[in-house]
């Protein structure tokens, strides 16, 4: 039940945020603080999400060689400008391959 509430609140909130942008006065965008917030916060959040999902588990640091190998392979794919989906497939295939070979 609580999970349903989170799903519905996230859904309604995300829609509200989109609609607010489409309805807000255009000059808001010219406000440097608004622009700076909207542009910079995703960088901090996304980098935090990468770190949390890569090297933590159940609230403690946890290093899984296969998962880190998958992430490293994704980084290599990104360096070579691979398309989005290819990056994800490379990450999964690398982690799966390392596990199949008995790593971790």
């Amino acid at each position: 039940m609580m999970l349903w509430i989170a799903v519905l609140v996230a859904g309604a909130g995300c829609y509200g945020l989109k609609l607010a942008g489409l309805s807000a006065p255009r000059r808001l965008l010219d406000h440097p603080k608004v622009r700076a917030f909207a542009m910079t916060v995703p960088i901090a959040l996304l980098s935090a999400l990468v770190a949390i999902q890569a090297v933590t588990e159940d609230g403690v640091l946890a290093f899984d060689p296969a998962r880190l190998g998958g992430l490293a392979a994704a980084a290599v794919a990104l360096v070579f400008r691979a398309p989005f989906l290819v990056v994800l497939v490379v990450a999964a295939a690398t982690a799966a391959g390392m596990r199949a070979l008995g790593v971790s």
Binding site: V7, G21, A24, T40, A44, A48, G59, R67
Partner: protein, 239 residues
């Protein structure tokens, strides 16, 4: 993704972006692995329809975090769609019911397609086709992904646990590559704050706390905004 042709028809742009919707497969499997029911995963894709926010919510749930923290993370990541709305309001210039529907489609990919067009008519076509194809693809593949998990058994054997961090890295990568040292500083601080606070705080909260790292990048953005304002929004708007 924008095709390399110099003046591509807006519909072709919109359709090629729809392929990105295939990553709904990944979302579906991730959501099911995190403990969401098929209905919950599908409703989330229908209502949220903004990938990073959805992944943030299920990521926090998967790591045992509170639902409140997960929802806050989803909304903070969704805030950039507000900026797309500000950018596209003049370009699309839709009112009433059309505006209410169009608002739902304001995400990275549709904004990128729309901003790449010349003129209102092409912009509207590009937005509509991109929105429609992405929405269909994203929701269909979410359903397929969430149902597939039941057949898979241990999803980690397929390396699915590596997809989450890889996905967020892929979203972050163009900005790390194209922007200055200040962006990389913000990203590094975000990682440090998240990892340092992980043992101390409930799961999910470290991600929110990492938003503080954005303060380190604000001063630079102020200066840049005074000069070449739209450049930053341009870089943000990509598939």
């Amino acid at each position: 993704m924008i095709t390399p042709f110099s003046f591509p028809p807006p519909a072709r742009d919109g359709l090629s972006v729809g392929l990105v919707g295939l990553s709904g497969l990944v979302f579906g499997t991730t959501a099911a692995t995190a403990g969401l029911s098929a209905a919950q995963a599908c409703v989330l894709s229908l209502l949220c329809f903004t990938g990073a926010s959805q992944f943030a919510l299920v990521g926090v749930i998967a790591s045992g975090g509170s639902l409140a923290a997960g929802t806050m993370g989803a909304l903070l990541l969704g805030a950039r769609n507000t900026l797309y709305g500000l950018r596209l309001a003049d370009i699309l210039d839709w009112r009433g019911g059309r505006k209410l529907v169009a608002a739902h489609g304001l995400i990275d990919e549709t904004a990128a397609v729309t901003l790449a067009q010349n003129g209102r008519s092409d912009a509207r076509t590009g937005f509509t086709v991109a929105f429609a194809s992405l929405f269909l693809m994203w929701n269909l593949t979410t359903l397929i992904g969430v149902l597939a998990v039941e057949q898979i058994g241990d999803p980690n054997a397929f390396g699915l646990d590596a997809v989450g961090p890889a996905l967020f890295l892929a979203l972050l990568w163009p900005r790390l590559r194209d922007e200055g040292a200040r962006t990389r500083l913000v990203a590094s601080l975000g990682v440090l704050i998240a990892l340092a606070s992980t043992p101390l705080l409930p799961a999910g909260v470290p991600v929110l706390l990492a938003a503080v790292a954005a303060l380190a990048g604000m001063r630079d953005q102020d200066a840049a905004a005074a000069g070449d304002g739209p450049a930053h929004a341009e870089q943000e708007a990509r598939p």
